[in-house]
Amino acid sequence: MTTHVAVIDYGMGNLHSVASALKHVGADRVDVTHDPSTIAAADRVVFPGVGAIRDCMTEIKRLGCDDLLRSALADRRKPVLAICVGMQALMDSSEENGGVETLGIVPGSVRFFGRDHTDSSGHRLKVPHMGWSQVKQAMVHPLWAGIDDSCRFYFVHSYWVSPAAEEVIAGTFDYGLLGCAAMAKDNLFAVQFHPEKSHDPGLRLLRNFLNWDGSC
């Protein structure tokens, strides 16, 4: 089986990390692109994201990346991995930038940790949530294969995803609240952390993605 990955490029920052990590774990071909035919031809799709949500949404729509993503998701044999802001963009809306309507692919919202964020014992927690946090796996999924439950991944975000349906939650992190670290539904897997920056467990997750047929 060859692995041809399209990393959807909507012009927001550094996508090389994702591309080079995918190559490192054995992808045969990685295209960083917003060309519809290239994305249609790829056998799996990564929807990354860095930056502020409003600008991301503007570019996603301007380049037609929303339609490309929807058609990739509609093809159930095509695995899709959304990362960080890519995951947040899947929801209905985000509190960032004064409130932004997002893609509405997964019901739920994206919320701010808030100023004066604290843990359960009242200790102040810095925002952004930046660094290595444990991810508790909430379901058995091919993308967790070979990854220890509660191992640490690298996070950097000030907003967190709150899905409407609990059953899509594939993993959680604990940072003053129990947040959604990963979601899974059909051929979609989405992560709040950065697997491409999470060393061995992150690379393992990307390798699992290359080996995934899109079914749960």
Binding site: G13, N14, S17, A52, V127, P128, G131, Y175, K197
Partner: protein
């Protein structure tokens, strides 16, 4: 389990070679940055910082290509700083493979750059670096100010309020270096580290002065740092990253 405290080896790079100055003079050559970055990645460093201390603009292209080479092999976050003056410099470094870009002097000359950069690229990738020195006499209440030019040029700007202003403008993280301690191996300047960590919501990286593993622990437990940065103790093979982590863990500090 709480967020792990981060250990960040720092590569000071001059014309493509990692160096480490003692008080920014008396530079020793420590090696090839790609080689060193790969080693820290394998050893379990939580992040890497790459500071370009090259003075000339021509040599900066070397930096971008070095960052590219590192980014191809290192799968932990990479912060790059040094000589960042405008938004286009930030874009160049992010495109070369940096995950975060550190702004220092340019933020002093033009604080709006921090705001513009955070709005464009997101706070998560904008680090404001500040070099501070204690300016008050010993018996006086402590006052720290920002310095530029490797600690030689005073700015008169008070450090704590500056850190708060930078966080308000959108800095996602503060990299604090004590110029009194940098290169001394006497440990972090804990007073100002604590003051800034308490005053800002964003994470704080402590830098300057690490000479042993206890210094790393103090930076976290006394200084309140979210991450500790060190160069020479790692570069010259005195301690490995796993040794540092084992030490911190023994002190009850959460590590990866």
């Amino acid at each position: 389990m709480p967020l792990a405290k981060r250990i960040i080896p720092c590569l000071d790079v001059d014309r493509g070679r990692v160096v480490k100055g003692i008080n920014f003079v008396g530079i020793r050559d420590a090696g090839d940055p790609v080689e060193i970055a790969r080693r820290y990645n394998e050893e379990g460093a939580d992040e890497l910082t790459f500071l370009d201390i090259t003075a000339s603009h021509e040599a900066r292209d070397t930096t971008a290509s070095t960052v590219e080479k590192i980014a191809r092999e290192v799968f932990i976050p990479l912060t790059v700083g040094g000589g960042v003056r405008e938004v286009s410099d930030i874009r160049t470094l992010l495109n070369a493979g940096a995950d975060k870009v550190s702004i220092n002097t340019a933020a002093i000359h033009n604080p709006e750059l921090v705001k513009e950069a955070a709005e464009r690229f997101g706070s998560q990738c904008i680090v404001v670096a500040m070099d501070v020195k204690r300016v008050s006499e010993h018996a006086q209440p402590p006052r720290y100010e920002l310095f530029t030019h490797g600690g030689r040029k005073p700015t008169g700007i008070e450090a704590v309020s500056w850190a708060q202003k930078m966080a308000e403008l959108g800095a996602g993280e503060i990299l604090l270096t004590s110029m009194d301690r940098d290169g001394t191996r006497d440990g972090f300047e804990l007073v100002i580290t604590r003051a800034i960590s308490d005053a800002v919501d964003v994470p704080l990286i402590a830098s300057g002065g690490v000479g042993n593993l206890e210094h790393l622990a103090e930076g976290i437990s006394v200084g309140g740092a979210d991450a500790v940065l060190a160069a020479s103790i790692f570069h010259f093979g005195e301690f490995t990253i796993p040794q540092a982590k084992a030490y911190l863990e023994g002190k009850g500090i959460e590590v990866r």
